[in-house]
Amino acid sequence: MTSTVNSAAASPAETPEFPMARAAKCPFDPPPALRALQQEGPLTRVRLWDGSTPWLVTRYVEQRTLLADPRVSADITRPGYPSSAPINPEQVGIGFILMDDPEHARLRRMVAAPFTIKRIQAMRPGVQRIVDELIDQMLAGPKPVDLVEAFALPVPSLVICQLLGVPYADHDFFQANSKVMINREATPEERAAASRNLHGYLDNLMGEKLRDPGADLLSGLAERIKAGELTQRDAASMGVLLLIAGHETTANMIALGTLTLLEHPDQLALLRDSDDPKLVAGAVEELLRYLNITHSGRRRVALADIEIAGQVIRAGEGLIFPNDIGNRDPEVFDDPDRLDIQRDARRHVAFGFGVHQCLGQPLARMELQVVYSTLYRRIPTLRLAAELDQIPFKHDAAVYGVYALPVTW
């Protein structure tokens, strides 16, 4: 017997608002209200900023099942899509992550080649050099130092610039605009302006790649434009997406991961005292699971009626998947709120699930493996240069992390 009762519509005052706030003293844990909803059941209604009441899917199994269901759409332009903020009609899209197959697959496959496991493994020595040089510079400079500015942002920014063929000299410009684009509290106008800035920049760069191609990803897209498979505008959109996704996420995992380890000294010691690549790889998976920095929830809309867990999701209803609480599901991970770098966490959904699962995950894993196996061994006395409650956490950003991390040694 399936229930078609929409309790949310019947009693709007009782419908919890989403997103929810984390507990002040638990910056590494998902909001307590999310945990409470997960204990009640796998699906519940929540209220968004615009008064809409999409489904919130809180348990791991239902998250994976629905994210992999072809009747579930990622198309932000469909009615019922639960957007995290007003959609500015003039704002240019950010590429294939907000599209469905077959167009999504066609565009995604165009940029997949540099992210294969083999190509990423071949980049590892270069990433190791970048990491070592940045640590050399930190050790030679004054302390305390902001780890975000000196290390966590430069590592993935340098790497993605090289991969895409974007001049790193422009990093102040693209980092500043990217920060606005993913800030939940920025106005639609501010976000649209940042988006226009980045699209203009990438469009200009695509023009240069068309005239003078190199061996980088954007030059590969220039070939597609010449072959008539892609418009320059779509190529620029894909460039914006890859540039933002390529540096924001990993930078936050480096800084927030370091803070997490400093607050869990026994786990940090295990990592620092081991030279086993398997232990390092396992630590990366566990930190991805535990921190799940994409804390705004993945967003979708149902294309058909879908029966799941005794409920019916109607066609046109929105779905939100907070993977942070999915990764803390006690049915899947024992003692889920404990950080344990020796556990097998590989089935986590920090990169999402379904055909939109993160394309850059091999790159993210490799960068984090190099960073986590190098930073704490080269600076074994690394420690916070502020109290934990003085650290500015990114509660207002679509991607969680810290705005600054003062450290010394």
Partner: protein, 66 residues
Amino acid sequence: MKVSVDEAKCCGAGQCVLLAPEVFDQREDDGIVVLLDETPAEHLHDVVREAASVCPAAAIELSENA
């Protein structure tokens, strides 16, 4: 165990290659799965099952009684 892959479903996330490089590879031009061994040796069965279960696009099918 018999393994089959669906190239049309594959989204090139690479998880199978990471877990079982003896059994799975990726096409160089678009990252889509290439099956290297459709009847993997027994010591690989567990990791192949894990690859099928973490595949985000359900592109790996196993038939256990083959």
